[in-house]
Amino acid sequence: MTRLPWWIRDLIYLAVGVAILIGLSYGLTAIPITGIAYYNRILVIMGINITLAVSLNIINGHAGQFSLGHAGFMAIGAYFAAFLTLYYFGPWVDKMPEGSTQHWIAQNGLLLVAVLLGGLLAAIAGYLVGLPSLRLRGDYLAIVTLGFGEIIRVVILNVEKIGAARGLSGIPPWSNFFWVFFFAALTVLISNRLVNSSVGRAFLAIREDEIAAEAMGVDATRYKVKAFIIGSFLAGAAGGLFAHYTPAYLNPTMFTFIKSFEVIAMVVLGGLGSISGSVLAAVILTFLPEGLRMVKDYIPGGKDPRMVIYSIMLIVLMLTRPQGLLGRRELWEVLRKRKDAPVKDAVDEDEEKASPPIQ
């Protein structure tokens, strides 16, 4: 049986995904449950977190370049997309009659344009940040990316046009469940395609041993920068979607390095290099603080211990599964292992444990 070309198969997957998403997004608004907006919001935040985690996983998990500046890329995408819609696209769309097809198409089309342009600017920043990674390794790269994220934040704090320290409000709230999950699905698809391509193989080779990869003819420099560009583009897009989701308000304090830490916690908790692991961890770490809201009722004095419990659980999870929930495998590989228990996985497990303690 001949298989269809990969891009046709991907387009079919995407079409099916879009159909499901449209169904879901209409379904979710139609369910008559009180507080559905709250659940809807958590789901949307979850979708954004999935995009962030999977995109960071390309840089950290696949290419093995330790980046702590993801919040910075997200901030660039968010602010640039919001700037475009607030000052240029929004007023233009507002001139059209509310509720008309024309209005609807312009709104969604321009949201897409703004989000993609936001991603593009973030990708340019990713290119600039990727450049030092030519010379820096490991922890030095980590601190440079972290510093870069902080520089972005301080610059935003000082630009009056985008709200400075007050934050940017009045962004058109165009983003919705559909777009957020469309991008999440797209990110997973891109990431999955990437890791099985020659580029992805080069990423993995660099992660495992950069010198050996270079000796085998992999242009490590080019691929590392590539990983940064792809990862930061998707993070920027996630930021753009976040900016346009109700309450459509941005503040520089949302994009401190704490945000980067949250994303990296998702990637590592899921298992570095595991796409489904990143998705799983993003889901868990988004719902965990929300699920802990009820604990507050049992604490006298109205103090909220959920973030304390969250951090303790993060520590305990890392102590019990240091290689992440799924290790380097994907969810289906883990599930399949239960049935056949192949020898290969036993070797994998050993390798994870036997990584050198100190270099």
Binding site: A142, L146, L269, K353
Partner: protein, 305 residues
């Protein structure tokens, strides 16, 4: 000229505090190759331990309200904060880092971030999120010489910080323990084969680093008496930058790096770019790392195949 001298003095005082924190980062990194992100929050813990011990001290000596400033009290609360933070550093290493010694390095990094979150959110939960006012430990008075005005606080910060740095320098380069520490940092496995109790050395390193962070916390409380559970985030980050700047893993490098960051910030803060004060440390870091990828004093190590 006067403003330059003034900025110089402010910068050195702030830089001395950064240097004390940076030492903890650099020692732990030198030995475990672990960026202990919780270290900035240990500094916060030191400040709060000082704050509460001053209250207890007032109660013990039957003083109503704020305790009377005195050198004895300053010494007592400094000691208390050092012991409390040292204990925390010990437990932290035992519980959160030691079980992950043989795991991938990134796992302990995430645990460190978890501990940092725990201290920040736990601090907000236990101490309350509002800023608190650090008690006056010693009477404040102005000192003027050569046209510049300073307070005795800045001098105290400088003297105490330098004294502790000198002490650390002695411990690392002049004692048997220091030699063991350097050996472990040079090669962990060989050191343990040579009979060095690596676990004990690592524990002690954590305790030393946390004690220095406590000293920094008290000095910070003295100089800038508004403390809150998130106060450790920025100084912690900048101290880490200082450690990288000096060449991470290098003890004198951390001191120089801390002073440099303090000075640069003071001069930028006094210029027309003062809004960019928080970014400047990172900009300089990036520029320096581009030309010297392993910091100012770090040794460039050729990668072994």
């Amino acid at each position: 000229m006067q403003t330059i001298l003034q900025n110089l003095l402010n910068g050195i005082a702030a830089g001395a505090i950064y240097a004390l924190i940076a030492l903890g980062y650099t020692m732990v990194y030198g030995i475990l190759k672990l960026i202990n992100f919780a270290h900035g929050d240990v500094f916060m813990l030191g400040s709060f331990m000082g704050f509460y011990s001053a209250r207890w001290y007032a109660k013990l000596t039957h003083q109503a309200g704020a305790p009377e400033p005195s050198w004895v009290m300053a010494a007592v609360i400094l000691l208390f904060a050092m012991i409390a933070c040292g204990l925390f550093g010990f437990l932290n290493e035992r519980i959160a880092y030691r079980p992950l010694r043989n795991a991938p390095r990134i796992a302990s990094l995430i645990t460190a971030i978890g501990v940092s979150f725990l201290l920040e959110y736990g601090g907000q939960f236990v101490f309350g999120p509002d800023p608190k006012f650090f008690p006056t430990l010693v009477d404040k008075h102005l000192i003027t010489f050569g046209g510049i005005t300073t307070t005795n606080y800045q001098l105290i910060v400088l003297v105490v910080a330098l004294a502790f740095m000198a002490l650390l320098q002695y411990i690392v380069y002049g004692t048997k323990f220091g030699r063991a520490m350097r050996a472990v940092s040079y090669n962990f496995e060989t050191a343990s084969l040579m009979g060095i109790p690596t676990d004990r050395v690592i524990s002690t390193t954590f305790v030393l680093g946390s004690v220095l962070a406590a000293v920094a916390g008290i000095l910070y409380g003295l100089a800038y008496p508004k403390i809150d559970p998130l106060m450790g985030v920025m100084p912690g980050l900048k101290a880490f930058v200082a450690a990288v700047l000096g060449g991470i893993g290098n003890v004198p490098g951390a001191m120089v790096g801390g002073l440099l960051i303090g000075l640069i910030e003071a001069f930028v803060g006094g210029s027309s770019f003062s809004n960019y004060r928080d970014a400047i440390a990172f900009i300089i870091l990036i520029v320096i790392l581009l030309f010297r990828p392993s910091g100012l004093f770090g040794k460039y190590q050729a990668e072994k195949v």
